[in-house]
Every structure is written in structure tokens, then in C-alpha cells.
């Protein structure tokens, strides 16, 4: 099986077995982290929806809270 290419200085070569093992471990860690972040985002979205429902019962909206300065606009991370 062809292993991914790496470059050290000007030399391009396939990964060694040890480097490939680390590469695969990194891939697994990245997937796990992405999954964890997705789960956290899901929980956050659910909590937000629940909070908005409670606000609605009170006759308030997020815009009302922003106008009162009680919350900050939520940042959005688009790429990173």
C-alpha cells in the first residue's frame, strides 16, 4: 500500500511505518474531536431553542435581550 508523501527539507518520500502510525492516530483524533465539537454544538443549539421557548412564554425575543444589553451578538466561526 502506498503511504502518504511527506517532505523534509527538499527530500520527498513516503512515510515510514512509525510516521504512518502517527498519521493514522492523528486522523482518528481529528475525527473524534470533530464529532465531539458537533455534539457540543448540538447540545448548545438545543439549549438555545429551549431558552428561546421560555422567552416566548414571557413575550420576549433575543432581540429584546440584545436591546437591553443583557447578551452579546453570537460570533460565527466560518472557516477555522
Amino acid at each position: 500500500m502506498t503511504k502518504p508523501l511527506i517532505q523534509i527539507a527538499d527530500e520527498v518520500r513516503e512515510m515510514t511505518d512509525a510516521e504512518f502510525a502517527q498519521f493514522e492516530a492523528d486522523q482518528i483524533a481529528d475525527v473524534e474531536k470533530a464529532s465531539q465539537l458537533k455534539a457540543e454544538a448540538q447540545l448548545k443549539a438545543e439549549a438555545k431553542a429551549a431558552a428561546q421557548a421560555k422567552l416566548a412564554v414571557l413575550g420576549l425575543t433575543v432581540e429584546d435581550l440584545l436591546a437591553l444589553g443583557l447578551i452579546e451578538p453570537e460570533p460565527i466561526n466560518l472557516i477555522s
Binding site: 502518504p4 508523501l5 511527506i6 517532505q7 523534509i8 466561526n77 472557516i79 477555522s80
Partner: protein
């Protein structure tokens, strides 16, 4: 008829002492001539009392400033490492320019410190990033106790990823800190072009001589350059 002194045989410097182009005549002590061979192209002769001749060839210092140490292009690789011994005691700090001009989708840009030909994989990496996009949205992210620095993520539209980093004395056995930033540009350059300010910290007092950029989950094409900063 003028009469001059005839040199005593054996006391002159024989021409055979010069053996090659560029040899220069020096002295190692009183009445002790010696040859110093030519140095590397571009190097200049400087005094150095630690050498036998009191002289050595060295790269021109040029006063405080930037000196290019190494650079390379790379194409469709999963990682790229600087040569061993890129970071040495010659310079105090280092400036690194890293530009990716093509990257496969869903690639995580990561990095590791490197020493004696191996990446350091200790869970001692910390990173903090502030993000501001052209669309005037902002975000921040931070990671601790990782086994690599997390630099950013390339989605399917990313067509450029660049970083300029200041390495604070990575060659000294202290905790290594790197600060700088860069950009990530996508085809939707208004809302998805971001400016990143980044701080990286390796939490062990180790000496490193190189650095590795990693395209986890993909490959990258681009170039890098490393400069030594003279205090």
C-alpha cells in the same frame, strides 16, 4: 655594484605552502605561518580568537536584521518539515513564512516542534486563535494539552492558507512560544476570508531544531521560508 643580503636558505616561505586556489597566508603564532583555505562562496573573513589562525570564514553579519536560512516549495504532501538544525544558536529568534496555494478539502492544518529528525508528539501543545472575517464576524478558539498545534481548517472552498510566525528562541531549552497570524481565503472571499491572530505554546522546556507543518486528512502545495532574526 650593489650588494644585497642573500637570504639564508630555508628561512623564506616556500611557494609550495600554497596548495589551492583561494589559500591565504596567515599565522598561528610568532614566526609561524599557516594557510587558511578559502571559505564558502559569499562568506567573509572575520577575526575569531578561538581558531588556530585567529581567523575564520563566516556569513556576513550585516548588522541586526533578517537572514534567510532555508526555503523550499512542496507539492501534494501530507507534511513538510524544515531541515534538521534550522534553528541553531546562530540566531536568537526566527521568522517563518508559510504559504499554501492549494489544499485538498476538509484538511486540518496542524504543526509540531521537531528535534533530531523526529516530530515531538508530547501532549504539551497549546494554541489560541482570534478570528475576524471580511463579513465582520468574529470567533475565537483555544486548545490545550494537544499533541500538535491546531492552526486552522480548510473547507472545500479554501484556495489559500498563509501564516507568518515569530518563533521565540526555539533552539533554547525553554518553553517555546510562537506568535503571528495569517489568513484563510476561500472562493467566497467576502464572508469566508478570515484574518487569524495566533499564539502557540509548547509547555516543556525543550530545545528544538526544526518544525513540521501538517495537512491532516489531506495534502497541500505551497512554499515556506525561514529567516534568522539577529538581536
Amino acid at each position: 655594484m650593489a650588494i644585497g643580503r642573500i637570504p639564508e636558505p630555508g628561512t623564506g616561505i616556500p611557494e609550495s605552502i600554497i596548495a589551492a586556489k583561494g589559500d591565504i597566508l596567515t599565522g598561528t603564532a610568532n614566526d609561524t605561518p599557516a594557510v587558511l583555505s578559502v571559505g564558502t562562496n559569499g562568506h567573509t573573513l572575520v577575526a575569531d580568537s578561538a581558531t588556530a589562525t585567529g581567523l575564520k570564514w563566516a556569513a556576513p553579519a550585516g548588522g541586526a536584521g533578517l537572514t534567510k536560512i532555508t526555503s523550499a516549495t512542496f507539492s501534494a504532501v501530507s507534511s513538510v518539515s524544515f531541515p534538521d538544525n534550522t534553528f541553531t544558536s546562530t540566531y536568537k529568534d526566527y521568522l517563518v513564512q508559510f504559504n499554501v496555494t492549494n489544499v485538498s478539502a476538509n484538511t486540518n492544518f496542524q504543526a509540531r516542534m521537531r528535534a533530531s529528525g523526529s516530530d515531538n508528539t508530547a501532549t504539551e501543545y497549546f494554541d489560541a486563535t482570534l478570528v475576524l472575517t471580511m463579513g465582520n464576524t468574529s470567533a475565537n478558539r483555544a486548545n490545550g494539552n494537544q499533541n500538535k498545534f491546531n492552526l486552522g481548517y480548510a473547507n472545500s472552498g479554501t484556495d489559500q492558507f498563509s501564516r507568518a510566525f515569530n518563533f521565540i528562541s526555539p533552539q533554547i531549552a525553554t518553553r517555546t512560544r510562537i506568535w503571528g497570524g495569517g489568513l484563510g481565503v476561500t472562493s467566497d472571499y467576502v464572508t469566508n476570508t478570515e484574518n487569524d491572530t495566533q499564539l502557540l505554546h509548547h509547555n516543556v522546556a525543550s530545545s528544538f531544531d526544526s518544525f513540521t507543518f501538517i495537512a491532516s486528512g489531506g495534502t497541500m502545495t505551497g512554499y515556506y521560508a525561514v529567516y534568522g532574526l539577529e538581536a
